[in-house]
Amino acid sequence: MNTKVIDRLQDPARRNAIKAVAAAGGVLLFGFHIPTVRAAQKAAGTSPLQFEPNAFIRVDQLGTIKLIMPQTEMGQGVYTSIAMILAEELDVSLDQVQVEAAPPNEKLYANPVFGIQATGNSNSVRAFWMPLRKAGASARAILVEAAAKKWNVDPSVCQTDRGEVIHTPTGRRIAYRLLVGSATGIASPTDPPLKSIDAFKLIGQPLKRLDTPDKVNGKVVYGIDVMLPNMKFATLAACPVFGGRVGHVDDSAALASPGVHQIVVLDDFVAVVADNMWAAKEGLNALRIEWQLGSNAKISTRDVWEQTRAASEQDGVAAKAVGDASQALSQGGDRFDADYELPFLAHATMEPLNCTVEVKQDSCEVWVGSQVISRAQAVAAKVTGLPREKVIAHNLLMGGGFGRRLEVDHIEKAVRVAQKVEGPVKVVWTREEDIQHDVYRPVYLDKLSATLKDGKIVGWRHRITGSSIMARWFPAGFQKGIDIDAVDSAVDLPYNIPNLRIEYVRHEPPAVPTGFWRGVGPNNNVFAAESFVDELAKKAGQDPVAFRRAHLDKAPRLKAVLDLVASKSDWGKPIPARHGGRTGRGVEVQGAFATYIATVAEVEVDKDGEVRVTRVVLAIDTGIVVNPDTVVAQMQGGLIFGITAALYGEITVENGRVQQSNFHDYRMLRMDQTPDIQIHIIKSTEPPGGIGETGTTAAPPALRNAIFAATGIPLRRLPIDRDVLAGRKPNPAST
């Protein structure tokens, strides 16, 4: 099955054919390219013989080579990089393969690091690098053995290329598709030979993405584009106050609104079911809903910060202790302290949340773009009371994920609506609902203390106070009071400091639900640590690059990217002011997600406190690079995502309600503000690191440190405060 089964033109004959195939096929897989011959055969009820050496590879007699994607595509390019890894060891070229999303199946497709079927934490390529190389190599070894048997020769004198086995002495060739029958039944070798790095044909090449051709012509099908026969459209409203319930609903005007079929009133939200999304929205506007606001109706961001600050005064649980930090901080040397505060953030994926569901008497079918497709299936099973195998969950491409689609709240809501609706219903959130009922990046407070002696940091304490997302989302990641995500990149601070203590205080904010956001824990910790190091460099009277370098003895890969970025960014040279403002460069280094990055940002701050980011130079060592063009793209985009957050990102709450609602008040960086971005990749033979989130963690500290260099003002909160930079208000740091 395939994206193109989605009935775009609403042709009834085609729809019925699709239904029949869907019903016959059980689990449906969505991919990009439908092989016409194969589709025709399938519709006719015959299926070509298929070689299925493992969960990831399918070769059939017609020559279709299908790769099953255990990780989901949300723009990060993972369908292409994972296909490249599999294709490399299988020894086929990328234009010979098709890719399909894996169905929900934890046993076959769980991420080896998490143990669950999830795409996040920049760890698709990291986690699947060896398993998928082995899967490809094992399939190749079987095909070679099958050919050798056929030719009655020794497999060791056979090689492969572009989907063919070659008998080296004679030059005889046979295509994989002709080996499908004889390969089936040959046992997988336990330890298939892997290619050496210098034999890679695909890995390391800037190959074209597999998903983009259909993204330029409107053919691509995201979750929100699913069209089914007799489908209805719905939109919904939850209580604007977190945790509030539905009181009384007057639906008379809404039901009279053209195209509205049905109002679904549930405990915690109301949905309007209609002929199309516009009719549903108009119906929603016509509803008169009295909410029971509940206990959060007075909560504001001020309360959140008061409570968080109070919580941060207590000792935290030690997540790491080296030497004696308290002694180092209390005696000998100059002591400095600073607190850094980060706001709530919404994800604002370009594709608003949506989910299409059909609930039948003894089954349920779900169409959604999800980072956790097995959880999507599980939540639908839970709501309907059906066994999991009776829930068919189709994973579609995502118009952005950024952590929002690691949650299943929108799927749960859509299933509950669908239970009340005859036939399939597509539930689409308005942008306002999407922003105001997100699962937000938590607020974090970082208390940092350090002692300097002879220009070096001798004592360091970092106390992180914030929500534990792991405790809710993945309890194994929250043990003995420590959330492994919340302390990530703090416990593995790259600097060589003899006395160090990292503490964590779990504090859940009132009312506001919290979840993962691109960059996760390192977003907070890299910002806090790199901002503080910049302030320490200034206290020590040293250049920020030289100061960092002096503490990186045990981090040669970071030292190398730092040296590279310093030379490429004209570090130490003057910056001309292009707009008459104050200019500066700021640097940061980070080892987050097993990728080593150093970044220099250039800014210009005008007299009104407005900040232009004029240039960003980033050097990266991410180990073996699967697709260098994807690495560059992720750095460019990740930096812009991070710059957006640093310049504008903040969700605030008043009377229990989120105050922002759409892109006019939850702003995004735009084309005219986009800096010149230069990315430099260091060649490496180390295992691959993660890349999807690293640019996002890199941008805010580099930008903040550039502002510090330009203005001398050490900002301690994000987003940047233009009033402080314009001198209209004191910096909270100095109060």
Binding site: G400, R431, F663
Partner: protein, 152 residues
Amino acid sequence: MVALTINGQKSSVEAPEQMPLLWVLRDLLGLTGTKFGCGIGQCGACTVHLDGSPVRSCLLPIGAVGNRAITTVEGVGVTPSGAKIQKAWLELEVIQCGYCQSGQIMSATALLNGTPQPTDADINAAMSGNICRCGTYVRIREAIKHASKLQP
């Protein structure tokens, strides 16, 4: 019934005149290439052309279209500028998640129609109404310049 010309084809839809073109395209005609992003004209994901000029279809009632020709991302590839933009988008591998790209492509094509050799300032003016959450702006700029050099 409202008569519309979409991608060169005449069709008539049974819909209220105040219904925005976006939802007519997506939900009534199944032309889902045009995207819903914000509903208030802030993000540009729903951009289509009316007689070659870019408009935000989420705010445009179909009754206001009149006899102007509608072009969507599904049809823009047959125009010389649209074909160049789509080619450049792929050659420079602009796209990540792709959700905003229909709108980006429509805005960029309209720019190239009116300004065959756009400057950075022209690109800023034409493209700043289109948000890309993946942050592909650097490549969009490069791709527009690349497209402007392609032969039709």
